[in-house]
């Protein structure tokens, strides 16, 4: 199933079946801790069945936003709505939202089975129903064999699965995940990313996932909301956020990029020795050019029409497995990062080429701390 980015969905007037319905709306939410402003004016919608990731550095306010949705923090301003229910005025136990905590927060005095059944037991479901639903949930995360064990006796990855089962067994409308994979080692984390994604498709519950890992966000999400110092920089599908970053910060945070500060005059953007035609008004402009959109070409070949060609000298090479990133000095203060297939070593003098269409204009990110 493919989800349209919300901005697109909202602009489509005819409500056909493919348009996902909005599940949760965050309206102008702000959070202040004393004088410290953690979140300002956040508005974000989550569609039914969507996997939305809040991506940001530590201190960006992503966990605070999640805790406001869960009900562990109250917003200083703004509202959170689920359908026609105002969520932010309800206590955490009266929201159809469940959370997978960063360090799982399993109850150490209860067995795995009792942990998973906790929500159902508190809701006073009949014993038989609790039993079957707990069994189903444990089967779904492949932990049936550990039903009678205390959480302290199982590994981190297994605790992770139990935390997931404990949340999902209550059939929430929205699952909140607070950096759930950050405590796992790299291999297990990659495996869990895929499992989590396919589990999300299977249960068709909206996931609001918090992470600082941009790769993880790209792999798993339908959409990414990039948070910086308490403000949303961009909300878009991974491909779009990568290929069309809205701001310089987004371009730099997600993947590698070259930021080109240019002066536009008469439809030509100039940056040091570089120039190419643009359709922008005169004045300063900032462009993001991805390293893989710059090609190293044999010298003295014909310049393909419309492409920009420039010479340079390789000053640095970083091996990345299948590809490598080279730094090419093109002019006094113009160094470009270029992604090349890992093969050629040390041509000192090279010719670079790129298409002006790949230079994406981005907004300068506001100075914030």
């Amino acid at each position: 199933m493919v989800f349209l980015p919300y901005s697109t969905a909202a602009s489509v007037l005819d409500t056909n079946a493919a348009t996902p319905k909005t599940l949760l709306s965050i309206h102008n939410v702000a959070k202040h801790f004393g004088k410290n402003i953690v979140l300002r004016n956040i508005s974000l919608d989550i569609a039914e069945g969507e996997f939305l990731t809040i991506l940001g550095e530590s201190g960006s306010g992503k966990t605070t936003l999640l805790r406001i949705v869960a009900g562990f923090e109250s917003a200083t301003a703004g509202e959170v709505w689920m359908g026609d229910e105002r969520l932010d005025q309800r206590p955490p136990y009266r929201r159809r939202v469940n959370t997978v905590f960063q360090h799982y927060a399993l109850f150490p005095h209860l067995t795995v089975e009792e942990n998973v059944g906790y929500g159902l037991r508190v809701a006073k479901r009949p014993d038989a129903e609790i039993k079957t639903r707990v069994e189903d949930a444990l089967a779904k995360v492949k932990m049936t064999a550990y039903a009678k064990v205390k959480p302290s006796k199982i590994s981190g990855g297994q605790q992770q699965r139990i935390a997931l089962a404990r949340a999902l067994v209550n059939r929430p409308k929205l699952l909140l995940l607070d950096e759930p994979l950050s405590a796992l080692d790299a291999n297990l984390r990659r495996q869990m990313q895929l499992e989590l994604k396919s589990l999300q498709r299977e249960v068709a519950i909206s996931f609001l996932f918090v992470t600082h890992d941009q790769e993880e966000a790209m792999v798993m999400s339908d959409r990414i909301a990039l948070l910086r110092s308490g403000e949303l920089e961009q909300v878009a599908a991974p491909r779009e956020i990568y290929s069309r970053p809205a701001t310089a910060y987004v371009a730099q945070f997600i993947g590698h990029t070259n930021l080109l500060e240019t002066e536009v005059r008469g439809g030509i953007a100039r940056c040091s020795s570089l120039s190419w035609p643009v359709q922008l008004a005169d004045g300063p402009a900032l462009f993001s050019l991805r390293p893989e959109n710059i090609a190293v070409v044999p010298p003295a070949t014909l310049v393909v029409s419309g492409r920009v060609r420039l010479p340079g000298r390789v000053v640095n090479q970083a091996f990345h497995g299948a590809t490598e990133l080279i730094r090419v000095q093109c002019a006094e203060e113009l160094v470009l990062i270029v992604r090349t297939p890992s093969s050629v070593a040390g041509h000192a003098e090279v010719e670079l080429e790129f298409s002006p269409a790949d230079a994406v204009p981005v907004r300068k990110s506001a100075e914030r701390n």
């Binding site: 206590p91 009266r94 905590f101 927060a105 399993l106 508190v122």
Partner: protein, 285 residues
Amino acid sequence: MELLVSGNRREATKGPRWLLAHAVAVFAFLYLPIAVLILYSFNGEGVGGFPPRHLTFDWYRVLFSDGPIWDSVWNSLHVAFAAMVISLAIGVPAALALDRAQFPGKALFRRLVLLPLILPGVITGLSLLMLFNAAAIKLSLLTIVLGHGTALISVATTEVFAGLQKLDRAQEEASLDLGANYWQTFWRVTMPNLKLSIIGAALLIFTLSMDEIAVSFFLIGRDNTLPLEIWGRLRRGITPEINAVSTIIFVFSLVAIVVWYRLRMRDGGTEAGMEVVEAVGGTAS
């Protein structure tokens, strides 16, 4: 190879022989008096005389038909139990307040709560005596209960506060998240996590109250607690009957510690628990 290993091992034990001697000396210092006390409770010749002769259960027989001693034991148990209830009833909520609530003067309160632990019993006893006099309350076991209860609140508060500090708050959030309200969360998550701290505090308070003498000395009415009964008899000349009753108390303390230790092990155990074991062990000996 085998030879080499065993040779090395002998080397390892040979080296710090003086350390071993030191350890033995420390243990002797701690436990020899108790051993002597127990041994002489079976001594037919009275408290004096070495080595003990004519081993006998006579002193236990005397003890079991000694009304006043048993009255005082009974009094002490009542006092200890009541003091335990009072100090837990006040100390546990105080610990919760210290851990969770924000209120003006919290830092001061936290230090004041510790004061009775540091204050000499003489001062606590004297000040309580003056208070009861001023309030025209007749001294009795009740005044001792109030004295122990207030003096030991600090033990309950600090023990439970330590337990709360170790509790992962995310667990309580998880419980709320899963649909349990605050009250349910308290009983289903917070209390089970505090269980050991509370049992530990209760045992500690109980034993501290059982052998408390300074505060009791000021607040005693007509009925004696066991330590005061023993104290009173010492002045008239000691008999191994006192040793016998002490031996019985020692055995009971030991059993209590072992039971509690087992409980702790079954639950996975915490460091806080270990501290209490040591503290209780310390007061019992």
